[in-house]
């Protein structure tokens, strides 16, 4: 059975909260919060994210400004960029990737990364958020 992967295209701009229960690739712009509890989020080479990100695994080929929490792995590929704090048991940062922030890798047995409250399932959806959380910058 083919796995569903939803793609947010280059021209799409989303401001608010993005929840989903399938793998998602973002090539557009997203500001706010992204929650894919048990799925893989891929920020494509054209993707520009200013958001708090929660997912099972996060693959970054584009730009992320904001904190990234993954229960499995964060993978910043060549030319990928993350400005923010990462919480994940496994982190891979490729040569040529940009990273500024902190990395918190818990050992097995330590408490898992805090998951966002009120997880929602279903298709990725945009919901209006009155006050999206601003992305935190790390460092001076």
């Amino acid at each position: 059975m083919e796995k569903d992967i939803v793609n947010i295209g280059k021209s799409v701009v989303i401001k608010g909260e993005l929840n989903g229960s399938e793998d998602l690739t973002i090539e557009g712009h997203v500001e706010g919060t992204i929650q894919l509890r048990d799925h893989v989020l891929t920020i494509g080479p054209n993707g520009r994210i200013k958001a708090q990100v929660f997912a099972k695994a996060v693959i970054v080929l584009g730009e992320v400004t904001g904190n990234v929490t993954a229960s499995d792995k964060v993978d910043i590929r060549d030319n990928g960029s993350v400005d923010g704090d990462i919480v994940s048991p496994r982190v891979a940062i490729a040569e040529g990737a940009h990273f500024r922030g902190s990395v918190d890798m818990q050992r097995k047995g330590q408490p898992q990364a805090a998951k966002p409250p009120q997880p929602q399932g279903g298709q990725p959806q945009q919901t209006q958020q009155t006050q999206p959380q601003p992305a935190q910058r790390v460092g001076a």
């Binding site: 982190v91 940062i93 040569e95 990395v103 890798m105 330590q110 460092g139 001076a140």
Partner: protein, 238 residues
């Protein structure tokens, strides 16, 4: 005075090179190991070609951290993914990557070096006494006196009592204008890779100058390596 005036290239060691598998054989290892020409595998940098040198202080530095539950580490060098993985796996720690070389480079390029000490005063958002270990690498060698003093003061502030700081200091002048990225192979071996810099090392600090610079810390261990690098492990008194 430099203790070893000869300008020798760092010792080139081969760290247990894996036997080459003849290409005509396609064995199990070939199936498991990503191939360089595999389009799905990102091109890997020539890490295997980087020179390796033995480090004496890294293991001691790690020892100071292993007693802590989830230690906090501050890395002043450019981000090296394998180092992050190494520390994460070895220590389960939280690592702050604060690339001071990038700050220095930017200030040199913009001709604003005099502003660097002021930036360093506000550079680190961490609370005082909250960092268990600092990887200073050789950044001090590239700084002028005012910046080095400000950085040392800040690092001393950040370290918790009994915390450790690992610094590298040249003992012989090298004319090349390049920074060095240190890549951890294991507890006793480091690889290094140089990359272009806006300026070279400024001066060879004497041991007493280094000790004065970090006057709030005590020297726990000091090693002079064959490649003329001094490794100094500082501890903050309890």
């Amino acid at each position: 005075m430099p203790q070893n005036p000869s300008n020798v290239e760092p010792a080139r060691r081969t760290s247990n090179p894996e036997p080459q598998t003849p290409k005509r054989f396609v064995g199990l290892l070939d199936r498991l190991t990503p191939r360089k020409n595999d389009p799905d595998v990102p091109p890997s940098p020539s890490v295997a070609d980087d020179p390796v040198f033995a480090t004496k202080a890294l293991r001691k530095f790690l020892t100071t951290l292993t007693s802590r539950e989830s230690p906090v580490l501050l890395d002043l060098g450019p981000v090296v993914g394998s180092n992050v993985s190494f520390f994460g796996e070895q220590l389960g720690c939280k690592i702050f990557v604060e690339d001071i070389f990038a700050d220095l480079d930017r200030h040199v390029r913009e001709g604003k070096l005099e502003a660097l000490p002021e930036l360093l005063k506000k550079r680190f958002p961490q609370e005082s006494g909250t960092v268990d270990g600092i990887l200073c690498w050789d950044v001090i060698d590239y700084m002028d006196k005012a910046s080095a003093q400000e950085l040392a003061k800040e690092l001393t502030r950040l370290l918790r009592p009994e915390g450790a700081l690992l610094g590298f200091f040249a003992s012989a002048h090298r004319p090349d204008v390049r920074y060095t990225k240190y890549i951890i192979v294991d507890e006793v071996n480091l690889k290094y890779r140089t990359y272009p810099a806006s300026r070279g090392k400024q001066s060879i600090l004497l041991n007493r100058d280094i000790i004065r610079l970090f006057s709030g810390l005590r020297v726990s261990d000091s090693f002079l390596l064959q490649n003329n690098l001094r490794e100094i492990l500082f501890r903050k008194p309890a």
